[in-house]
Symmetry: C2
Subunit: 197 residues, 2 copies
Amino acid sequence: MEIAVLLFEDFETLDVFGPVEIFGRLDGLYTLRFFSLPGGAIRNKDGVAILTEELSAIPDRVDIFLIPGGLGTRKEVNNEPLIDKIRAISGISAYVLTVCTGSALLAKTGLLDGKGATTNKRAFDWVITNGPNVLWNKKARWVVDGKFYTSSGVSAGMDMALGFLGDRHGVDVARKVAVGIEYNWTEDKDNDTFQAS
Amino acid sequence: MEIAVLLFEDFETLDVFGPVEIFGRLDGLYTLRFFSLPGGAIRNKDGVAILTEELSAIPDRVDIFLIPGGLGTRKEVNNEPLIDKIRAISGISAYVLTVCTGSALLAKTGLLDGKGATTNKRAFDWVITNGPNVLWNKKARWVVDGKFYTSSGVSAGMDMALGFLGDRHGVDVARKVAVGIEYNWTEDKDNDTFQAS
């Protein structure tokens, strides 16, 4: 299965590479490709420079579209060409996964309207302004609504990715991946230790 | 403080980017630079291609030298020019941190001889062949011996990075970073859920 990861300047490092680590653990079952609007090297505040393909090179059908968060989302929610692309790619994706404030980008497309979703509990008040008609959940570690998976902040993306594997391949496969990376998985998506008050 | 991160083909994604996320959280206190023996784009099995500088461009003094693990270590333990560089850079580094099988590379230099260290519990038997005189610890999540920090597998690198911040800046700073990334930190370095039998 093909995973398309969206990158933009000042993406959050772990939002991307936590799920990438987890999907990469299934011995080639998932193929990961990295995309950005301009293509080329995309950088963030941690000194990471990762090579990407142009979003226009994305395949006609994507199995999983992964949208990270990070400081860059504050700017990108107002980047109409990017939001238009996110809307179009989400339409051709079997599943759309967002981590942290990545849900603000997806909310901005309107595709989450009337659907349950969550986001970083420490950026909650800002994120929800980007999707007033989304059913925002303050307590969940991650939320599944149809093909949309949205997670809480940063590390929660790993819990969600494992949850996604559990939903597709059974919980034992997900647990095996968690053990393989020696990660203490929060299996209960409905209870976030870091929930907003 | 300057952190030099070592990369090589088929590094483990989260070994690198878990600690990078954590050090990047201290608002510019740590500056991260990525190095490899040849320089240029370094790739791994997850489709990640990261831009690096040549190891020869490393500064005269490094505050933290971070060595990840991954499948690539099986090849790199026999890469003498790389092991020589790791020995030299470790000598000019105030602290040397390894994640997962990265400890095999450091052990190969001889610098861990007579010192306590740990590694991935699922690759334990292989790693210890690279350092027969190292005092390998089967129970620890991570081990501190002087300037050397060595962690267990993959996710344990995040716990160790938080532990390092705790040792330098106090546990409250480390806890604040953990909450910021909504990560359930395993604070006790001596007890690994995934310990080898």
